[in-house]
C-alpha cells in the first residue's frame, strides 16, 4: 500500500516539474503560435542562474532567505532573457512561416549550449539542497524526500496562480483573447507587441522557476535543455497545444506513467512517453483538451517565380552537370567525400520538401525514413551478408514500407499534431534502434558497411551516389510537375475544394508520403555505405532538425531551395567544426542570420533579387504595370 503511494507521489513530483516547463511552452504557443525550442534553454539558464546567485545571496541573506531570493532572482533572469529573445528575434518572425520560427528558436538552442559552456565551464555545477527540505517523511516503512513533497505542491499552486492570472486580470484576459485571435486584439487597441513580450517573459519565468527548482535535485549541466524539451513538447501535445489545463493533466499522466512504468518495464524508459503520445493522438487528434487547428499545416503560398530565365537555367544546369561529372578529376579524396555528403543531404532535404513545401505536410520526424533506409541497408549487410547492390534496394523499400504504415496514422491528423506524431514515430524507432541491442547494434551502431569491391574507390562510389541521387531527385522533381504534384499543392492550398471536386486527398498525400519516404531511405542507405557505419544518430531528432534546417535555409517555396540548403549546410558544418570547440554557436548564429536576412530562404531571396534585377533592366514594363494596377 505505502509502496504504491510512494510511487504515485514520486510520479506527482516529477509531474510538477514537467508541468512548470510545459505550461510556459503551451502558453507561448497559444498566443504566438511559435513552437519554441529555446524554452528548454531558458530552463537550463534558470538552473545556471540559480547556482550562480545562490552562493553570494546565501552569504548576505543567510541560508534560507538567500536560497529563496536566489530562486526569485533566477526567475527574473530567465524572464528577462526570454523577453530579450522575443524582442530581438521572434518579433521579427511572426509573419514568416511557422517552421522558420521553429528554426530560429533552434538556432538559439545551439548558441545557448555553447554559451553556457563558455560562461560557466564544462563541468557540472552543484548547488545546495533546499533549506528545511533536506529531510524525509516516513510513509510506513518507506521514506519520501521532503523536497519532493514541496515539488508536488508547486505544480498545482502555479497552475492555480496561472488560472487566476488568465481569468481574473485584464492582462490574462488579453492573453486569452490573443490566443483566440491575435490580430483582433491588436485592432481593438491593445498593445499587442508588449503583450507578446510579456507572454514570452511569463513563459520564461516559469521555465526559469522549473530550472532553479531542479538545483536541489541535480547539478546545473549543459545537457538539461535537451533532456527536458522533448518531454515538455510531448506534454503540451498530449494536453492539447495552448491548453493550460490540458498540460496539467498530461503532466500528471506522464509523470505517473514514468514512475509506475519503471517498476513494470525497467528497460523501456525511453519509449514509454512517446508511445503514450502516439496513442493519445490516434484517439484524440487534438490532444486531451486542445482545439482543432484553424490553420492546417500552414499554407506555403504560391510557388515563386523562376529564379533564372529558361535559357540561363539550361546553361546553369549544364554547367552543374559538367562540374559534378568532372569533380573527382580535380578534387582531393576528402572533397569528393564532402561532395557525396552534399548530394545525399540534398536528396534528403529534397524528399522532405516534397511533402513539406509541395504538400504542406509538416514533418518533425523525417529522420525516421532516412534512418529506416540506413538501418535497412546496414542490417542486411551486417546480419545476412547482403551485397551493397541488394542492400541499396532494400533500404528505400524498408523506408517506403515505414512511410506506408506511419502515413496512415499521421495523415489523419492536422498541423502541429501531425508533426508531433511524426516526431513520436521517429522517437519510437530511435529508441528501438537504441535498445534492441542484438538486432540493431544498440547505441554502438552497426559497423563495417562499406561498398562492394568494385565501388570501394571513393571516385567510383561518388559516381554511384551521383547517379542514384540525381535520378531520385529527378524523379521527385518530375513528380512535382505531374498530376500527383499538382494535386498535393492543391491539397496544401485548399483541402476543402480539393475534396469537393472529388479528389481523394488522403490517397494522394499517402502516395506522396511514401515516395518521399523512399527517397529519404535511399539517401540514408547510401549514407550508410559512404560512412561505413550507422548508429542511432540517423534516427534522432538532430537528424530531423538537420533536414528542416536544410530545407528552410534553402527556401520552402522554390523547388531548388532544398538543394541549396543541402549543399550549404553540410559544407558549413565541415568547415566550421575544425575551427573551434564552440562550433554549435557558429552554426546557430548562421541559422539566425539566415532566418533574419532571408526569411524566404536563399532561393526566395535569389528569386526576389533576380526579379529586382530584371525589373531594373525593364523599367518601362514595371511602371506600366504599376500604372495599370493603379487603374490609370
Amino acid at each position: 500500500m505505502w509502496e504504491i503511494t510512494t510511487q504515485v507521489l514520486t510520479g506527482l513530483a516529477s509531474a510538477s516539474n514537467l508541468f512548470l516547463v510545459a505550461c510556459g511552452l503551451t502558453l507561448i504557443f497559444g498566443v504566438t503560435r511559435v513552437v519554441n525550442f529555446a524554452h528548454g534553454s531558458i530552463y537550463m539558464l534558470g538552473a545556471y542562474a540559480m547556482v550562480t546567485f545562490v552562493s553570494p545571496m546565501r552569504e548576505y541573506l543567510g541560508p534560507t532567505l538567500g536560497f529563496w531570493a536566489a530562486v526569485a532572482a533566477s526567475v527574473i533572469f530567465a524572464a528577462v532573457v526570454a523577453a530579450l529573445i522575443e524582442v530581438v528575434l521572434l518579433r521579427r518572425l511572426y509573419r514568416s512561416n511557422h517552421l522558420f520560427q521553429l528554426l530560429a528558436t533552434f538556432g538559439v538552442v545551439l548558441i545557448v549550449q555553447d554559451l553556457v559552456i563558455l560562461v560557466w565551464g564544462a563541468d557540472d555545477i552543484l548547488g545546495p539542497r533546499a533549506p528545511g527540505l533536506t529531510g524525509f517523511v516516513s510513509l510506513g516503512e518507506h521514506r519520501f524526500p521532503a523536497y519532493s513533497i514541496f515539488m508536488i505542491a508547486v505544480g498545482p499552486v502555479v497552475f492555480l496562480a496561472l488560472w487566476l492570472i488568465l481569468h481574473r486580470t485584464r492582462w490574462g484576459t488579453l492573453i486569452r483573447a490573443a490566443s483566440q485571435d491575435k490580430e483582433m486584439v491588436g485592432l481593438l487597441g491593445a498593445r499587442d507587441k508588449l503583450l507578446m513580450t510579456s507572454v514570452l517573459a511569463l513563459g520564461g519565468a516559469l521555465a526559469g522557476l522549473a530550472g532553479a527548482l531542479q538545483i536541489p535535485m541535480q547539478p546545473a549541466n549543459a545537457f538539461m535543455d535537451v533532456s527536458i524539451i522533448t518531454e515538455a513538447f510531448v506534454i503540451t501535445v498530449i494536453g492539447g497545444m495552448g491548453s493550460m489545463t490540458g498540460a496539467f493533466l498530461a503532466a500528471i499522466l506522464v509523470g505517473l506513467i514514468q514512475a509506475l512504468g519503471i517498476q513494470l518495464f525497467p528497460k523501456s524508459t525511453l519509449v514509454l512517453v512517446f508511445l503514450v503520445m502516439a496513442i493519445v493522438l490516434v484517439i484524440r487528434p487534438w490532444g486531451l483538451l486542445g482545439r482543432p487547428e484553424v490553420e492546417a499545416g500552414g499554407a506555403m503560398g504560391e510557388p515563386p517565380e523562376r529564379i533564372l530565365s529558361p535559357n540561363t537555367t539550361r546553361f546553369a544546369l549544364a554547367a552543374l552537370a559538367i562540374f559534378l561529372l568532372l569533380a573527382p578529376q580535380f578534387m582531393s579524396e576528402y572533397h569528393v567525400g564532402l561532395l557525396i555528403e552534399v548530394l545525399l543531404m540534398s536528396l534528403f532535404a529534397f524528399s522532405l520538401n516534397f511533402i513539406l513545401g509541395n504538400g504542406g505536410l509538416v514533418s518533425f520526424g523525417h529522420a525516421a525514413y532516412f534512418g529506416l533506409g540506413a538501418y535497412g541497408a546496414a542490417l542486411a549487410v551486417y546480419h545476412w551478408r547482403w551485397p551493397m547492390e541488394a542492400a541499396l534496394v532494400l533500404g528505400p523499400l524498408v523506408a517506403a514500407a515505414g512511410a506506408l504504415v506511419f502515413g496512415w496514422f499521421v495523415l489523419r491528423l492536422a498541423g502541429v499534431y501531425a508533426a508531433m506524431l511524426t516526431l513520436a514515430i521517429a522517437q519510437i524507432l530511435w529508441s528501438l534502434a537504441f535498445q534492441w541491442n542484438e538486432f540493431s547494434g544498440g547505441d554502438n551502431g552497426v559497423n563495417g558497411i562499406w561498398p562492394s569491391a568494385w565501388a570501394q574507390s571513393r571516385v567510383v562510389f561518388y559516381y554511384v551516389v551521383l547517379l542514384l541521387s540525381v535520378a531520385a531527385i529527378g524523379a521527385l522533381w518530375r513528380a512535382t510537375k505531374a498530376p500527383l504534384g499538382y494535386t498535393l499543392r492543391a491539397g496544401r492550398d485548399s483541402p476543402r475544394r480539393c475534396e469537393a471536386i472529388g479528389i481523394n486527398l488522403l490517397t494522394h498525400r499517402w502516395a506522396g508520403f511514401v515516395l518521399a519516404g523512399a527517397a529519404a531511405g535511399l539517401s540514408g542507405a547510401l549514407f550508410a555505405f559512404s560512412k561505413g557505419t550507422v548508429d542511432t544518430h540517423v534516427l534522432s531528432v538532430h537528424m530531423t532538425v538537420d533536414s528542416l534546417v536544410m530545407v528552410l535555409i534553402g527556401g520552402v517555396n522554390a523547388i531548388t531551395g532544398p538543394l541549396m540548403g543541402g549543399t550549404i549546410y553540410p559544407l558549413l558544418k565541415a568547415y566550421i567544426m575544425p575551427l573551434t570547440d564552440a562550433w554549435r554557436m557558429f552554426l546557430g548564429a548562421v541559422i539566425l542570420l539566415t532566418v533574419l536576412l532571408f526569411p524566404q530562404g536563399l532561393a526566395g531571396f535569389l528569386s526576389k533579387f533576380s526579379r529586382r534585377f530584371n525589373s531594373s533592366t525593364e523599367p518601362t514594363s514595371v511602371s506600366l504595370r504599376v500604372a495599370s494596377e493603379r487603374g490609370q
Binding site: E3, T6, Q7, T10, A13, S14, D114, A122, D123, D124, L126, R129, F136, H142, R143, F144, P145, Y147, P216, M217, Q218, P219, N221, F223, M224, S227, Q258, A259, L260, I262, Q263, P266, T269, L270, S332, E333, Y334, G337, L338, E341, G442, D443, N444, G445, N447, G448, W450, K531, G532, T533, V534, D535, H537, K573, A574, M577, P578, T580, D581, R584
Partner: protein, 405 residues
C-alpha cells in the same frame, strides 16, 4: 629563337616547375611527423578537453626533448561532432588531406567504433583512448585499433575481486540504459556469480542516460532490499540518484560499489555530498606519490592552471605511448607503427604498462578505494592500485572472441 636559347629556356622552365616540388620533398623529410587528434571537444568538453590537455603536454615534452630522431611531432586537431558520420568525415580529413600517421582520441562509443572501422578500412592506426566498450578490442577488434584505457571487463574484474570478499549475496544494479551500462552490469553478474556462492541480483534499474527519474529508481531498488548496490551511473544522473537516495536511506547499512564513481570527473561535481563509504574505482591524483606522477601533476597545473582529471592522465599516457611507438617504429607507415605498438612496454607516471599484442589492449591499471570527504570534497581513501595485467581477458577468450586478421 635559336636552339640553344630554347634549350636554356626549357631548362629554366623545368627548374621553375621542379624546384618547388624538390624543396617540398626535402621539407617532408625534415618536417614534423603529423598525428591526428579527434574527439568530441564541442559536445563533451568536460571529458575530452582534459584528455587533450594531457595529450598535448606529453607531446610537448617529447618535442622539447628533441622529438623523434630529430623530427618534431605535430598534432592536427579535429572535432568529431559526437556522431559517427561527422567523426568519419573528420578522420578522412586528417588522413587524406593532412597525411597524419595515426589517429588518437575517441570517447563516445559509437564514434570509437566508427573510427575503429574507418581505421581498418583506410589501413591507418587508431589509438582509442577513452571509450571503454569491451567489443572494441574483442568481438569487433581489428589490427589497426589499439585501446589505451582499461576496458569494462578489466574495471569490473578489479571491483568484483574486492566485492567478492565482502560476503554480500543480494545485489541490486543501477546503470544507464546504453551499452556502457549494460556491459558493466553483465560483467558484474558473471564475475560475481563465478566468485560468490548464492549470489543473486534482486533488482535491476536502467534509467535513460541523462534522464533518470531518481525517485522511482531509488524506490524500486529499495523495495528489493539488497545487501549491496552496484552503481554505474555518472554525471548529473549520479547526483540525482545520490540526492534522492540519501534522504530515503537507500545507502544505509548497504555496501555500494561505484563503477568509475571515484573519477574526479564525477566525484568532484558532488563536492561535500560525495557518497561516503562507497567502494569506487577512480583516479586519486592528489595522493599518488610516485615522483613521476608528482611531476606530471605539477607540470599539468603549471601549464593549464587546473588540476588533472582522469581524462588528463589518459591523454598523457596516450602521448607517451604515441611517442614511444614512433621512436621504435622504423618509419611512419601503419605496418611499422603496428609492429612497434604490439607488446610495446611504456613507462607511465604510475608504473610500466604493456600494449598487449594479442588483443591490442594496454595493461592499464585501476585504483580502487573508499570515498571519504576531505576539505569539502570527495576523495579516495586507502586505495590500492591493481595492475591491469592481472585482470586482462584470458588468452582463451581473446582467441575465441577476437576476429583473426
Amino acid at each position: 629563337m635559336s636552339v640553344v636559347t630554347r634549350r636554356v629556356a626549357l631548362a629554366i622552365a623545368a627548374l621553375m616547375t621542379a624546384a618547388p616540388f624538390a624543396s617540398m620533398e626535402a621539407a617532408a623529410q625534415q618536417g614534423p611527423i603529423r598525428i591526428g587528434e579527434v574527439n568530441s571537444f564541442g559536445r563533451f568538453p568536460a571529458i575530452t578537453v582534459p584528455w587533450r590537455n594531457g595529450f598535448r603536454q606529453a607531446i610537448d615534452e617529447i618535442n622539447a626533448a628533441g622529438g623523434i630522431r630529430g623530427q618534431k611531432i605535430e598534432i592536427v586537431s579535429q572535432d568529431d561532432g559526437g556522431t559517427p558520420a561527422d567523426a568519419v568525415r573528420a578522420a578522412e580529413d586528417l588522413v587524406t588531406r593532412n597525411n597524419v600517421s595515426l589517429l588518437a582520441g575517441g570517447f563516445v562509443s559509437p564514434v570509437a567504433f566508427a573510427l575503429s572501422d574507418f581505421a581498418k578500412q583506410k589501413k591507418v592506426v587508431f589509438i582509442c583512448s577513452q571509450a571503454a566498450s569491451d567489443a572494441l578490442t574483442m568481438a569487433q577488434g581489428n589490427r589497426y585499433t589499439f585501446r589505451l584505457r582499461s576496458n569494462t571487463y578489466m574495471i569490473v574484474k578489479t571491483m568484483t575481486d574486492v566485492a567478492a570478499k565482502l560476503g554480500k549475496k543480494r545485489w541490486a544494479i543501477v546503470a544507464p540504459n546504453y551499452e556502457y551500462g549494460h556491459a558493466a552490469a553483465e560483467n558484474f553478474k558473471q564475475m560475481m556469480a563465478a566468485q560468490v556462492p548464492g549470489f543473486e541480483v534482486v533488482a535491476e534499474q536502467f534509467p535513460a542516460l541523462g534522464k533518470i527519474e531518481a525517485g522511482p529508481t531509488v524506490a524500486a531498488l529499495q523495495k528489493a532490499k539488497p545487501d549491496g548496490i552496484f552503481n554505474v551511473l555518472f554525471g548529473a544522473d549520479l547526483v540525482k540518484f545520490v540526492r534522492e537516495g540519501e534522504p530515503r536511506g537507500l545507502f544505509e547499512g548497504r555496501t555500494v560499489l561505484g563503477y568509475e564513481t571515484g573519477q574526479p570527473e564525477w566525484v568532484d561535481i558532488m563536492k561535500e555530498e560525495a557518497p561516503k563509504g562507497w567502494i569506487v574505482n577512480g583516479y586519486p591524483w592528489y595522493s599518488i606519490d610516485y615522483p613521476a606522477h608528482k611531476k606530471f601533476v605539477a607540470d599539468y597545473q603549471a601549464k593549464y592552471n587546473d588540476y588533472p582529471r582522469h581524462g588528463s592522465f589518459i591523454g598523457y599516457v596516450t602521448g607517451i605511448l604515441v611517442g614511444d611507438a614512433l621512436k621504435k617504429a622504423k618509419d611512419t607507415t601503419a605496418d611499422s607503427i603496428i609492429s612497434a605498438l604490439e607488446d610495446l612496454k611504456v613507462e607511465t607516471p604510475v608504473g610500466p604498462m604493456t600494449m598487449r599484442g594479442s588483443d591490442h589492449q594496454l595493461t592499464y591499471g585501476t585504483f580502487v578505494g573508499t570515498l571519504a570527504i576531505e576539505g569539502g570534497k570527495g576523495v579516495m581513501k586507502d586505495w590500492t592500485f591493481r595492475d591491469g595485467a592481472e585482470v586482462m581477458y584470458p588468452d582463451a577468450d581473446v582467441a575465441r572472441l577476437r576476429p583473426r586478421d
